[in-house]
Amino acid sequence: MTRAHALLATLLALLVAFPAAASPYALSVATLILFFAFAGQAWNVMMGFAGQLSLGHSLYVGVGAYAAAGLYFHFGIGAWAGVFLAIAACVLLGAAIGFLAFRFGISGVYFALLTIAFAEFTRIGFDHIQWLGGPGGLFIKVEHRTGWDLLNLRGAPAMFYYVMLGLTCAAFALCAWLLRSRAGYYWQAIRENEEAAQALGINTFRWKMLAVVISSAMTAVAGVFFAFYYNNLFPEQIFHISRSIEIILGPIIGGLGTLFGPILGAAVLTILADGITELLAALGWEFPGVKQVFYGLVLLIVVMFLPHGIWPTLARKLGVGK
């Protein structure tokens, strides 16, 4: 067992034991961290591994959430089925966007703007779907707040925590495997130099499509969790560009393209946001906006002085690999 494995095992043991000792508030913060860690990993597959900058991942969170929530709301069919519908819908969407963009040779900034455009288009579209609540939102009935109904994703806060922990671990394992697979090496080649990769005979179109499909499928699962954890969905919030930015901040701050970066980034940012809230409360500066100004300043400093994110620097200090 290497040092990295030992550290990972310790961390996992701590995370599994965490709900026993934590207050309800701490548990909710931890769940939120895991949510962003998972969504960040999903985004990282597309940008960190394959180098395709998406600024519209809120699209997949939103469509995934609405697919599962709509199924439950109208037909009483639980999350166990909803997650498949959500994945199918998001994979189709992701494949369509990827196909159009890559076939027409759109890359870089233009690709990023295209993903924003699709997310915004869908946001306004959902505002006009009355069947799913329109701008007034879709609300799922809160049931079994003490039980553990995993199939329907209805239960106690601790259940949601463990579901998210399981998803995050699964995503970590999947990403670790992907990164060492044929696809992973092709993606990294495309990320570093697409023309060179093409010259070596890599079908860049196919591998980029695979990255988009995997990333959108994972994000769809995050969306399903979001719907059943928060029990309310508003197009204005879930499809908003700020949600996309929230998702991608973690991997970028943590370390783009690394396995542990998205998790570390999510933890740092969520704890930071909470810390700022508490600090401002202690100082009595609770005006709307103050928190985000501080958040922005910290972000600015990290981007300026740690261009590769926190994890690569920290990994060197800990003496573990990426």
Binding site: M47, L53, L55, L100, A101, F104, G105, I106, G108, V109, Y110, A112, L113, L114, I116, A117, F118, E120, F121, I124, G125, D127, H128, P135, I241, S242, I245, L249, I252, L256, F287, P288, G289, V290, K291, Q292, V293, Y295, G296, L297, L299, L300, V303, M304, P307
Partner: protein, 289 residues
């Protein structure tokens, strides 16, 4: 539908669109030269709008006069922003530049929220409500003047790039970064100058926009997206394209209110953006790179 009414709506759309166009022109100029997408563009626009509101409230300064000091201040602000923050990021990857400007935008929009609160502010001037009658057509006086100022500013900028040596040097930087360095141009200074000019454009657009709509801090991100739509439709880096794109979006917004529900009007804009990106990614008036 009364045809005169429709023509009036289209005219109002064109006038508003020209102000949109000036805002997008700032973004287009910055991207065309510095190759950085200014994700804080709409936020800067909103700051200019608040500056106009504050000057009006404090000194009863008409936004048509306030535009001069505000544009000058924004030129300096833009210069400082590029020289201090963005220049070190020129050689960094796109996502890194994006993060930097997102952080800047976050600070700007929330600083406005802290300073002014979430409520809408506006400038109340009596003559803005008067209309000019041309035959059966009605032109809103405020909109007309605002559009004229937007056109004048765009013409000045165009002349600057075509006629002055500095403008020529900036175009040289845009065409060939390395070549411009080799012939001894101070590229970093010229980049900062360009960012300053783009900021001054957005400041003028902001002062004019405050005559047309009430301002809230939340307008920032919305205007950033609007500016993206316009420059992509017109062609990133094309000056005439930005104005054309602005007019197109202005008219389509005006007509969308008539033909479909007003709340769906930006869906039309984003649909247009998607179509243009796929079919003509260089934009309507852009050059192929």
């Amino acid at each position: 539908m009364d045809p005169v009414n429709v023509v009036n709506l289209v005219l109002a759309g064109v006038l508003t669109g020209l102000v949109y166009g000036l805002m997008a022109l700032g973004l287009s100029v910055i991207f065309g030269v510095v190759r950085v997408v200014n994700f804080a563009h709409g936020e800067m626009m909103t700051i200019a709008m608040y500056a106009a509101v504050v000057l009006f409230a404090a000194f009863k300064l008409d936004p048509f006069l306030a535009v001069l000091p505000i544009a000058a201040a924004f030129f300096l602000l833009g210069y400082a922003l590029q020289a201090g923050l963005i220049n070190p990021f020129i050689t960094r990857p796109e996502h890194s530049q994006f993060m930097l400007l997102v952080a800047v935008a976050l600070i700007m929009v929330n600083a406005l929220l802290v300073g002014f609160g979430p409520d809408a502010r506006s400038v109340q001037l009596d003559y803005l409500l008067e209309s000019i009658e041309v035959g059966p057509l009605l032109l809103d006086r405020g909109k007309l003047f605002a559009a004229l100022v937007a056109c004048g500013t765009a013409a000045l900028l165009f002349a600057f790039f075509k006629l002055t040596p500095t403008g020529k040097a900036i175009r040289a930087c845009a065409d060939n970064y390395l070549g411009a360095k080799v012939v001894g141009l101070n590229v970093k200074h010229l980049y900062a100058l360009t960012f300053g000019l783009g900021s001054a454009c957005v400041a003028v657009a902001g002062c004019m926009m405050v005559l047309l709509v009430d301002v809230t801090p939340n307008l920032g991100p919305a205007y950033t997206l609007l500016a993206f739509v316009i420059v992509i439709v017109g062609g990133l880096g094309s000056m005439a394209g930005a104005l054309l794109g602005g007019v197109l979006i202005g008219v389509s917004e005006a007509l969308a209110g008539l033909l479909i529900t007003p709340s769906a009007k930006s869906m039309f804009s984003f649909g247009l953006l998607i179509l243009v990106l796929l079919l003509r990614p260089q934009g309507l008036l852009g050059r192929k790179t």
